[in-house]
Symmetry: C2
Subunit: 366 residues, 2 copies
């Protein structure tokens, strides 16, 4: 991290979001998600020394789980968390420093308070520094992402294989979630699952809708690996037909899967993120499939979407150690068709982390 | 809502957080949690008319689930969500309006962009307006909170009753989560559960720790009711001993439970939130239990902590229709002892929503 700070001429970076506090401290603080006023901040200086600011209620967890030993606590309602952060920054010799913060996450109210308390500091947006640092994963991070992809693929496969006409979306979703935990996930991050008419929505919640013959069953599913309330994420999508697929459904899926394969094949070191997008777009065009995706995939790590985004504006070159999710989508009259796999960029190409092969033909389930 | 806006001399309020977008639109937008750059905004004007701004990817879900028909979409990466919000506000005649926003949630970067685009508007913090509006629940809201409290109580009770020495924390947690869904929850919001040494932390994650004889088993658990990725929340805590409790453990718990009962008894219309806090603090003192809680409970609704907070600084009077969680905690050498129940303020007193009675003596499980 120190090198990235020096490149950006920052004396320190302050993480504000649960994901980045976890990334810089190793401790996932649940209440950052549940109780947004209970702020937590992880400070990393250019010499790679660390400090964390948390509510006193979280102190024992931080002592047990974080590698950071300089822990500053505030008492809820008695102290202002931002004032304790300002004191810590002053104490670390940063009162006149150039400090990067996640200014897309830090609420305006808190930013204004910090600016008042540290009038001589330069408070700048450091979101991009953290985003860039996180792009290339360490071996430990990649191992968690590999485990996540494999576990998620298997959980979906098993739940789809057991799906029967008359089951509800909620039943299939519960089986997937249980399967994910049985495969070692520390938690479920999101469960998009839809059958029938709901399959036209991007992020529908599984509910009481029953699986009817010939309807679409689609999921977009991910978990946490490495820590329960945060951790390294998985993100896979699969589409199937309940009962027997029509010739037209099979044909659309075949074309979509071809596009998926050629997009995955475009992932290699040195290719630019926008080149992968363009390969996918051209694949849709050449197969007569309407294309309307703002992106065709994304980096994945402690956030489900992280850099590099596979979109037309991202010229970032792919580098070994990046892990991406590739996810072509097409809208049909019967619902969204969606396949998504995770892939690791390696020095000699790419390594698929989930098993796309057994989804090569449109699965018929039930 | 209109009345609250007029009282605060606001022409409109803009919700930014998932919870408040859900509150003002009826649609829980999962990606607000998963993909924080994919912003969503719900606008309510003083005449109670509504507009929503979402990523085009979410449009179908909003059309299906929200009561708002004025839907403005942006295309991810091509459009700035904030620019589309500014256009919508201008279009609604608010370019020179006084607009309340959730400025504790809206990132400084986005606030600065909006201020640039609407130089003649007064952009002020409206968090408190939404917080105050949400304090008193409608009958529909209360019904969801009642269902949630009862379901959560039962899920914990059943999982604790089935706990055995040698089980892991993760096993008990999974049974609680499955039980919560079986009881009708739309999702699990948080699962704090700890045994043995982990029971000293406030928000530990259930893991591989086994249940050993004489150790503390504590949970703090909540789900969503009414919508899968958001919804009305539950929040209950329970403490038990694995095997046989010592006389000292029983004695501490007895005193804590007495404090719990008298704190619940202090909840009635006309009492101030700080009076309930003071009743609890005095109860600790009179029983010789150390007291170090910044608050002793909180309002609960679409957020787990909402107004009124039961802390020394809150002079808000309790009113019929409020729903509160009351949660005295004491730290012992063996771990945290914690009981938490949900209670509804009614015109003639209070109604307990969870079943505290069967936890009156320290439960011995396993």
């Amino acid at each position: 991290m120190g090198e990235y700070l020096r490149d950006s001429e920052l004396d320190a970076i302050v993480a504000v979001s649960l994901e980045n506090v976890y990334y810089l401290s190793g401790v996932p603080i649940l209440t950052q998600r549940m109780i947004p006023t209970r702020l937590a901040f992880a400070i990393r200086r250019a010499d790679d020394s660390s400090t964390i600011v948390v509510c006193s209620i979280e102190e024992a967890q931080v002592r047990a789980e974080s590698w950071i030993t300089d822990i500053r606590c505030y008492t809820e309602f008695a102290d202002s968390p931002v004032a304790v952060l300002a004191d810590a920054l002053r104490d670390l010799g940063l009162a006149r420093g150039r400090i990067g913060l996640e200014l897309t996450t830090l609420g305006q109210t808190y930013y204004a308070e910090l600016a008042r308390l540290l009038p001589d500091a330069a408070l700048v947006d450091g979101t991009d520094v953290l985003d860039r640092r996180r792009m290339v994963k360490t071996e430990d991070e990649r191992e968690l992402l590999r485990r996540g992809a494999a576990a998620t693929e298997r959980a979906i496969h098993d739940a789809f294989a057991g799906a029967r006409i008359g089951d509800t979306e909620a039943t299939i979703a519960e089986r997937m979630e249980r399967g994910l935990r049985d495969q070692g996930a520390d938690g479920v991050a999101f469960t998009v699952l839809a059958a029938g008419p709901n399959a036209k929505m991007a992020h529908p919640s599984p509910g009481a809708q029953q699986l009817d013959a010939s309807s679409v069953l689609r999921t977009d599913f991910g978990g946490y690996f490495g820590a329960r309330h945060a951790g390294y994420m998985s993100d896979l999508a699969r589409t199937a037909i309940i009962g027997t697929a029509t010739a037209e459904q099979k044909d659309v899926y075949r074309r979509l899967f071809e596009v998926h394969q050629l997009t995955l094949a475009a992932v290699r070191p040195g290719a630019r993120a926008c080149d992968v997008f363009e390969a996918c777009r051209r694949g849709f065009e050449e197969r007569g499939l309407p294309f309307r995706m703002p992106h065709v995939g994304h980096g994945i790590g402690v956030s489900v979407h992280e850099l590099p985004m596979l979109n037309p504006g991202t010229t970032q070159e792919l580098r070994p150690g990046m892990v991406l999710a590739v996810e072509p989508i097409t809208h049909t009259a019967d619902g969204i068709f969606h396949v998504e796999d995770m892939v690791e960029v390696t020095s000699d190409g790419a390594r698929l982390l989930s098993d796309a092969s057994r989804w090569a033909a449109l699965p018929e389930v039930g």
